[in-house]
C-alpha cells in the first residue's frame, strides 16, 4: 500500500484496490451484483427530427432497485444519449462526454455535431476494450440533419434510421421493423415508438414501468416524462399506518441543530381596514 494520507485526485480511474480484489476472487469469493439497467431504449427518425424512447426500470439481479430512472442523458442541447448495460458506466461516460462536448463547443464556437460525439465516445470505449459496459444510442439534430447512431462497448458504431437496444431491444425492433417508413409524421413516429416500448416493457422482465419519450427537432425539444405509465400500481387494500409507540425504544437522543438568524422582519397588520371610498 502506498500509505498515502493525502490523496490528490488527478482524474481518471484508480486501480489501487485491484490486487486485493484479485486475491479475494481467487479465494472463491463472488463479486457483488452491480446495477444494470436491463432496459429497452429505442430511437426513430422521422420527417423533422428524431423520437427517442426509453423504459424506466433499473435492476440489480432480479430485484428492481429503482422504478423511475431516466435513461436519457443530455450530451448537448441538440444531442442526447440513451444508455443500456451497466448503469454506472452509462451515467459516467455520458457525463464525461457531455463535458468534453461543452468544451469543444466553446472552443470551436459552433453547435456540436452528432458524428463528433459518436467518434469521441467510440474511441474512448475502444481504449477500454469493452470493459466499460455502455451500450449507447446517440441521437441528435445538427446542421447536417438528424442522426441516430448505436455504439457498442468495444467501440463499434452504426448510423441507422432507427435502432433499439437493451434486453428488450429485439422485441422493440420487431415492432419498428414492421411499421417504419421514411418521412413519417411526428404523431406516427411517437405512436410507433410507444408501441415498440410497450411491447418490450410488457414482455421483457428487465424493462418496465414507464415509457419516457423525447422528441428532438432543429427547433424544439419536447419531453414526455412519462409518455405513458405501463406498470400502473394498484392502490393498497388496507391502511398500514402504525400507531405511535408500536416500536419499543431503548434510548432517545435529540440533537438540536443550531441556526444563526441572519435577518428578521416584523410585519404588522392593522386590525380594521378602511372601507374603499368610491367617488
Amino acid at each position: 500500500m502506498s500509505g498515502l494520507a493525502f490523496e490528490q485526485p488527478t482524474g481518471g480511474f484508480v486501480f489501487d484496490n485491484c490486487r486485493r480484489n484479485e486475491l479475494l476472487l481467487s479465494n472463491g469469493v463472488l463479486p457483488g451484483k452491480i446495477h444494470k439497467t436491463g432496459t429497452t431504449i429505442a430511437a426513430i427518425t422521422y420527417k423533422d427530427g428524431v423520437v427517442i424512447a426509453a423504459d424506466s426500470r433499473c435492476t440489480s439481479g432480479t430485484i428492481i432497485f429503482d422504478d423511475n430512472v431516466l435513461k436519457i442523458h443530455r450530451l448537448s442541447d441538440n444531442i442526447y444519449a440513451l444508455g443500456a448495460g451497466t448503469a454506472a458506466d452509462c451515467d459516467f461516460q455520458t457525463r464525461l462526454l457531455e463535458s468534453q462536448l461543452e468544451l469543444l463547443k466553446l472552443n470551436q464556437d459552433r453547435q456540436v455535431r452528432v458524428a463528433t460525439a459518436v467518434r469521441k465516445i467510440q474511441q474512448h470505449l475502444f481504449r477500454y476494450q469493452g470493459h466499460l459496459g455502455a451500450y449507447l444510442i446517440i441521437v441528435g439534430v445538427d446542421v447536417t440533419g438528424s442522426h441516430i447512431a448505436t455504439v457498442h462497448p468495444h467501440g463499434s458504431i452504426a448510423f441507422l434510421p432507427f435502432v433499439a437496444s437493451g434486453s428488450g431491444g429485439y422485441t422493440s425492433l420487431s415492432v419498428i421493423e414492421d411499421r417504419f417508413k421514411e418521412n413519417m409524421t411526428e404523431e406516427e413516429a411517437k405512436q410507433l415508438a410507444r408501441d415498440a416500448l410497450y411491447a418490450s416493457t410488457t414482455t421483457d422482465l428487465y424493462s418496465g414501468s414507464r415509457i419516457n419519450m423525447y422528441v428532438l427537432t432543429k427547433e424544439k425539444l419536447d419531453k414526455f416524462l412519462p409518455y405513458e405509465v405501463v406498470g400502473v400500481r394498484s392502490d393498497k387494500q388496507n391502511d398500514y399506518t402504525l400507531a405511535k409507540g408500536t416500536t419499543q425504544v431503548l434510548s432517545t437522543n435529540v440533537k438540536k441543530i443550531e441556526f444563526d438568524i441572519v435577518n428578521e422582519k416584523v410585519k404588522t397588520t392593522t386590525g380594521t381596514h378602511e372601507a374603499m371610498e368610491l367617488a
Binding site: 489501487d16 451497466t86 425504544v249 431503548l250 441556526f259
Partner: protein, 207 residues
Amino acid sequence: MGDDILSYNGGVALAMKGKECIAIACDKRYGVQNRTIATNFTKIFQYSDHCFVSFCGLATDVQTVSERLKFRTNLYELREQRKLKPNVLYNMLTNLLYERRFGPYFVFALVVGLDPKTGETFIYDSDNIGAVSDNVNLATVGTASEYIFGLGELFFKPNMNADELFEATSQALLNGVDRDSASGWGAVVYVIEKDKITVRELKGRQD
C-alpha cells in the same frame, strides 16, 4: 448467500422519506461470515448538519470509504466555506466509487439529506461502482435489503409526519432483519427534521 463478498460481514440500512423529514436506519451487527464479532457497528455517518450516508457491505470498505469521503467533504467545506448539500455529497460519493470502477470497493451506499430552508428531502442510493439514482421515496441496501424492500413498500405512504415515519422505518427494518441471519443485534434510527435530529436505539431480537 454463501461466498458473496457483500454478505461477508452482513448489515443492512434503510431510508424513507416523510413530509419535511427523513429517516435513516441501520442494524448494529458486525460479523465474519457466521460468527458475530461486535454488536455496536453502526453504519450511518454524518457529513453535514442534515446530510447522512450509510454504507453496507464489506466492513473494511465501509470504514475506508466513509473516511475517504469525510476527507473530501472536509476539503470542500474548507475551500468553499459552506456546508454540503445532499446532491453535492452524492456526486462526490459516486465519483469516489466510480474512480475505482475496475477495482471496486464492496459497499453499497445510501445518501440522505434535507434542505433546511425549503424542507425538500433527498434520498439517493448507489451500487458499488457509483451508479446514479434519482431522488427516491424509499431505499435500502445490505444483506436483508430484499426483505426490507417489500416491507418498506407496504409501510410507506407519502407525506408522513416524523412519528409515523419513525414507526414505519423501524418496523420495516426490524421485521426484515429478523428474517436475515447476517444482520440484526439491535438497530439505530435517525429521524432528521429541519431543526433537530432524533436518534433512537431500538429494542430488537439479540440474535
